[in-house]
Symmetry: C2
Subunit: 383 residues, 2 copies
């Protein structure tokens, strides 16, 4: 493990380790997001994990001109393309960075290596223990940080998290979940892609975890849990889903409400929606694709004669609010559940604002002590 | 089998048997849709299959007052609730109905029974051989109609179609497919719910059928075929999907372009998209759910102060065109492929206009001789 380069016993009730090198726009986006988060949430402390020199060059006014040619620690320039891409962090944020550093709410933790998007997860597990991703997870394991966020390689993050943090007792596989918006609150869907070919037992475990998570995060007592199926009738669906349904119907600790279909995800008929990761991932991405298509279609309607373009201009404020309300970046930050620690996965192509939402998610999970709650409630339910 | 009540050797190049009793708004919606279709497509002939007296009462001006109390053939009033619900078919359509009947383009074929939405498919197969659904399929089998359309119970339609029409040689299971819209043309997705737990071999067969279908329906030579996966990298995804990918990569008769994710369904990166029916069904319904949610969200934006409502009113024509362009009913009508005949499934809750699209789909498939093409091309590819 790398040495701490600054004091990491951070001030603040909630400390989040940020994999500063993960994602398409790292480290600029991750650094800006970290600073904006610190500005907004006074209870927050952040440890930026990554190439120390690069991060310092980005963060501090006085080190602006000291960016080395290699942009790295010299021996392993893992992301050379980023050297010339370093767009300066806005000066007002740099000023803030020094303040946060001085008040002990911001620290840099050096990690010499980076997990690439093209790395096979198994290779990352064997070879990238000094990566920003692995070191951020290790900080959680060691109790230095309450949770961590990464926009890097999902498979690698999952495998490293399982290996470094370990699983909750009684849970075979971690799941990925996030909250989908709906008019009256929305629902958490799991799994969103950590697992394929889930068995009934896995779906059952996802249901338990989802139920506890939503109780902790949303304060909903006995959240309604539903299984996704291809039809609402008891006779339809795959063998594993029907078996999971029978297991849930017999489980007193879960408020199981039965099957729902894909279209019901936005109807507020359940608080927790459970499915196999293949199904959840395709559904989520299809939904995002439809939203994008509709937005483009709508915009094209105003790209005609002058009066249509004028109407379009008049409507812009409304569209902007509309767009903001459906903006996927507002819902960035998927939670890994089933692990002994808080791990939030950001979209790889998240910009600074989207990454900020992911940090917010992690901070909230840490504050609400979600892993502890899952551990203790699972203990009651399973053993 | 029931007797033909009118001459069914219909005039017209394309004859479609319509299960007039299937769906939430049958028989009114199906009858109106049939008449509108005949009005628009002069090459079309339609056989309405269902309760003869009820259909006659709906169709013809002179029989308007002769609706019997039982609304049925007397012995089995299968859908008694509809007796009082018969809203008259508009008079101008009734006038047309007589003309169509006289010119030999419209016929009624009596079927005393109805498959209910609550019927188990296996029960429908054993007990409902005299249902409008089964009789419509039998008319296709006998060559009286080129294809058939139903808005009834999907599982029953699938089982009855397999039993009555039989499968194409070399195909284990039929698949459900429809065209999803996208800016530059869209793609056909299969399977949309006929099968769960598809093996690699099934996915491979769906790919072959999809490729031939799109070539026939859209005139695209060597359509691009993609598999849905949870990531684009070769290492991700379930065992069966990866195996299917290897099979397709080796198949010279298919222009296989690799994996796509859910969000790519609307990016025009493939003409045929293949997945397990559970995945396809959930993705499709999620997409429809998102579209509905966005539309409602947008409308709410104009439900505020007076100037917003005024803007909303000004925008209505634009919204209406927008809404029409994304209206799921425009895309109503899913094709069953792999069967020895044309079978189109309409949404159960389709109104007359949506059902018309389904009839249109069937007519086009019949005209383009899709089952013949699939049969002969499969023969080249598989044997």
């Amino acid at each position: 493990m790398s040495l701490l380069t600054t004091n990491t016993a951070l001030v603040g009730r909630v400390t989040v380790a940020v994999d500063a090198m993960g994602g398409d726009f790292a480290p600029q986006a991750t650094v800006i997001a970290a600073l904006e988060s610190l500005k907004k949430n006074e209870a927050l402390g952040i440890i930026l994990v990554g190439d120390q020199k690069m991060l310092e060059a980005l963060l501090y006014l006085d080190s602006k001109k000291s960016i080395p040619q290699s942009c790295s620690n010299g021996d392993q320039p893992q992301k050379p393309t980023e050297c010339s891409d370093i767009s300066p962090v806005p000066p007002h944020l740099k000023t803030l960075a020094s303040t946060f550093k001085d008040s002990g709410r911001l620290a840099i933790h050096h990690a010499p290596d980076v997990v690439l998007m093209s790395d096979r997860p198994s290779r990352a597990l064997r070879r990238k223990q000094n990566s920003s991703m692995a070191v951020a997870l290790q900080l959680v394991k060691d109790g230095v940080a309450g949770g961590c966020v990464s926009a890097g390689n999902t498979g690698a993050l999952m495998l490293l998290a399982r290996s470094i943090l370990g699983m909750c007792p009684g849970i075979d596989r971690p799941a990925i979940t996030k909250k989908l918006p709906a008019p009256k609150g929305g629902c958490y869907v799991l799994d969103l892609g950590a697992n394929v070919d889930s068995t009934a037992e896995h779906l059952y475990q996802f249901s338990l975890m989802g139920s506890i998570l939503v109780e902790a995060m949303e304060g909903i007592e006995k959240p309604r849990v539903a299984l996704i199926n291809v039809g609402e009738e008891e006779i339809k669906g795959s063998e594993q889903v029907r078996l999971a349904s029978r297991m849930l119907a017999e489980c007193e600790g879960v408020n199981y409400v039965g099957y729902i279909e894909g279209g019901d995800l936005f109807n507020d008929v359940a608080d927790v929606v459970v499915c196999d990761g293949f199904v959840g991932n395709v559904a989520l991405k299809t939904g995002e694709g439809v939203a994008k298509l509709l937005y483009q279609t709508l915009l094209r309607r105003f790209d005609g004669p002058w009066y249509m373009r004028l109407l379009g201009k008049l409507m812009m404020p409304v569209f902007k609010r509309f767009l903001k309300s459906i903006d996927p970046s507002r819902y960035n930050g998927a939670l890994f559940v089933g692990l002994q620690g808080v791990v939030v996965k950001s979209h790889g192509n998240a910009d600074a604002q989207a990454f900020e939402y992911a940090i917010e998610q992690a901070a909230e999970e840490v504050e609400r002590k979600v892993p502890d709650m899952i551990n203790s409630r699972l203990d009651e339910l399973l053993f």
